[in-house]
């Protein structure tokens, strides 16, 4: 027998995955570090050169450790990240952690709602398209999927803004809230939506949701296209699977065959892909935030890139990369929970 299901193999698998975080994060940190150093010129003169006297520049270099040997810088960077110290920006000498604290909430709100939207729209559409293959519904859904995936975020964003400008004039097109909301809602979690809910301020919640809708739709559509395509392909495959035919041969009603054999099994690869989509989600978030002046990390990232602030860019990118790693490991574990074959 091919069985080797030792008791507790699932916990062991989970521990293995969790341990894998260490080399993966280390690898990514090294990559980010090297990429940042490959760029020509030194970061300080690139960002604030010409605006500060030479002595001040040198002082900045010294403070950033740029005069240290490379290996020392590498060590400082790694140990800094370990203690959750991502360094300070060059331009305004702000701790990256503070930027993350102040702007991370907005990015989190945007990405999670976009992901939820993409799932809620993409999965059912993909299932329908796969189930009713080659019907007009399938055709329409496929075109929708291709267009939303292929359209650049800037373009979709602009289109959505124009639409709302003309049809629902007065609908907020930029920012995360009106200034009033920002002033009245007490900051607790740095996630404005959550703070507004905690404060029990219904008007503020509605205000944030209204602001959130357009960027979330824009980013959600981008990811949604992938979910549609992927779900559809997997449903087509599972509908052809031998076990689906075998289930029919046992007289299982067609609705149940489709639901608990075809759809359920098609979800396994889709969940795997959700993990891979996080990278796309974050890069899409950068562009979406820019388009909608959404006060998140992506917006900050673009600002700092414009200012050629290597330290800030390095810090934010590191954070993004670590998030991607963590989520992909999390997805591995989720897959192991739904697919018994994984536990070896």
């Amino acid at each position: 027998m091919s069985t080797a299901t030792a008791p507790g193999s699932l916990p062991r698998y989970i521990v293995q995955r969790l341990l894998l975080i260490i080399p993966m994060v280390w690898f990514i940190l090294t990559l980010v570090f090297l990429l940042m150093r490959v760029a020509p010129g030194d970061p300080v003169s690139a960002s604030v050169g010409g605006r500060l006297p030479e002595a001040a520049l040198d002082q900045r270099r010294e403070a950033l450790g740029l005069n240290d040997p490379l290996i020392q810088q590498y060590w400082d960077y790694l140990s800094g990240v370990l203690t959750l110290d991502f360094g300070n920006t060059i331009t305004d000498n702000t701790p990256i952690t503070q930027i993350v604290k102040e702007n991370g909430g907005a990015t989190l709100t945007l990405t999670i709602s976009a992901m939820l939207l993409a799932l809620v729209v993409g999965l059912p559409l993909g299932l329908i398209a796969g189930r009713y293959r080659d019907t007009p519904a399938d055709g329409g859904i496929r075109i929708f999927g291709i267009v939303t995936y292929a359209a650049p975020v800037f373009y979709t964003g602009l289109l959505v803004q124009l639409l709302f400008l003309n049809v629902f004039s007065g609908w907020p097109l930029l920012g995360q809230s009106t200034p009033i909301t920002e002033f009245t809602v007490e900051t607790r979690t740095h996630i404005l939506l959550l703070d507004a809910i905690i404060a029990g301020d219904g008007d503020a919640v509605i205000d944030v949701l209204k602001h959130l809708m357009l960027p979330a739709v824009t980013l959600g559509l981008l990811i949604c296209g992938i979910f549609i395509r992927l779900t559809r392909v997997n449903v087509l495959q599972t509908l052809q699977a031998d076990y689906v035919e075998a289930a029919r041969a046992r007289g299982i009603p067609e609705r149940r065959v489709v639901r608990s054999h075809a759809f359920r099994n098609a979800m396994v690869p889709v969940v795997t892909i959700i993990g891979l989509q996080v990278a796309l989600l974050l890069s899409g978030a950068v562009l979406t935030e820019k388009t909608f002046a959404w006060p998140g990390l992506g917006n900050q990232l673009i600002t700092y890139i414009d200012q050629r602030d290597y330290a800030a860019v390095q810090g934010i990118i590191t954070l993004f990369a670590v998030v991607v790693v963590l989520i992909s490991i999390l997805i591995d574990i989720v897959i192991a929970l739904i697919d018994p074959r994984v536990r070896y």
């Binding site: 031998d242 046992r250 007289g251 299982i252 697919d339 074959r341």
Partner: protein
């Protein structure tokens, strides 16, 4: 033909055609036979002769667009319309199917127990888990699967065990008729013997009739009561298995038996050529391009089914009826035969 009253299954002039770009592929083209309770009928023939199509046709498991015609009577009642709810209700409860590839026939995300629960509840909604378990463990015991494995996942079983699992699943509701389509082809020889023994013993425990599709004549002689030989969509010979093996009456059966026996004796002997294109089959007897005894009449007129000695039924002009052979029709069809052999070279 035997009396229909006591038969589980009675098939008359069944046709199953597939639509292809070139026209209809007549995979099953006028098949008739009867099956008694507990009887095992072997179905043999080269691949591409329509065996699988016949088996699936009987269960109503054909791809969309397949054309089905003919009369099938099951337990004395006509079979319901193909896509109907009634047909669905029969599948699993009264009609079962065992497939060729056991490795892929169980849903990898579902426990064995869930397969049983789903199957039983599809036909008896609301049955308790405990009762399903009871029924399942009973069949699993006959299949030699220990009760401790009831909640395992499919990937935890070997190929042979998975095939026994699918057999158990097919049997849990005690269907009256099961199609087993080459159930051992994907398994190794030792496991094959095991599975065949289980199938041959089915009637003792379950009183199930079986259509056992195989290209292995050894399996037929071991497990089957009767055998049907299929060629190009038709049953060309059918009869008691031992009788047919002892004195095959149709040239195709003779060639089929010769090619198997010689495998163990002289080595290479095979039927020259291959089964015909079912979109555009040869006129007359479909075997005539490959038949060593082909006569003129064979190339133009289809032979009629005839009952010969010992209850065998054969479709071949060699057995008459003389009255229907036109003058000169009995002349050998030499030229044709040499040509087709040369084609193969």
């Amino acid at each position: 033909m035997s009396t229909t009253g006591q038969d589980v299954l009675s098939v008359r002039d069944l046709r199953v055609w597939y639509g292809t770009e070139r026209g209809a592929a007549r995979a099953v083209d006028g098949v008739s036979f009867d099956l008694r309770p507990g009887e095992i009928l072997g179905l043999v023939g080269e691949s591409g002769c329509g065996k699988t199509t016949l088996g699936r046709g009987l269960l109503g498991l054909l791809p969309r667009g397949a054309f089905v015609d003919g009369d099938v009577t099951f337990k004395g009642k006509p079979m319901p319309a193909v896509a109907s709810k009634e047909y669905r209700a029969l599948r699993g409860a009264e009609l079962g199917m065992i497939f060729q590839e056991p490795m892929t026939r169980l849903n990898p995300l579902m426990r064995i127990s869930e397969h049983f629960e789903e199957t039983v509840r599809a036909h008896h909604p609301g049955v308790s888990r405990e009762r399903v378990r009871h029924a399942a463990l009973e069949v699993l015991r006959v299949m030699g699967i220990p009760p401790t494995r009831y909640r395992s996942y499919p990937h935890e079983f070997s190929g042979g065990m998975r095939q026994r699992l699918t057999i158990a699943l097919a049997l849990v509701l005690r269907p009256a008729f099961i199609v087993a389509d080459e159930p051992t082809t994907a398994l190794d020889v030792l496991v094959e013997a095991q599975i065949i023994k289980i199938l041959a013993d089915l009637r003792r425990e379950f009183d199930t009739s079986l259509l056992l599709i195989t290209h292995n004549l050894g399996i037929v002689s071991e497990a089957c009561d009767r055998v049907a030989v299929m060629y190009a969509g038709r049953i060309v010979e059918i009869g008691d298995a031992r009788q047919v093996f002892r004195s095959p009456q149709h040239p195709y059966t003779q060639e089929l038996l010769r090619s198997t026996i010689s495998l163990s004796t002289t080595g290479l002997s095979f039927i020259p050529g291959s089964p015909p294109d079912l979109v555009d089959p040869p006129a007359g007897c479909r075997f005539h391009p490959r038949c060593p005894h082909a006569m003129r009449v064979c190339a133009t007129q289809a032979p009629v089914p005839l009952e010969v000695a010992g209850g065998q039924r054969v479709e071949c002009w060699l057995h008459g009826p003389e009255s229907q052979v036109p003058p000169g029709g009995g002349e050998p069809l030499h030229v044709r035969e040499e040509l087709s052999v040369a084609d193969e070279a």
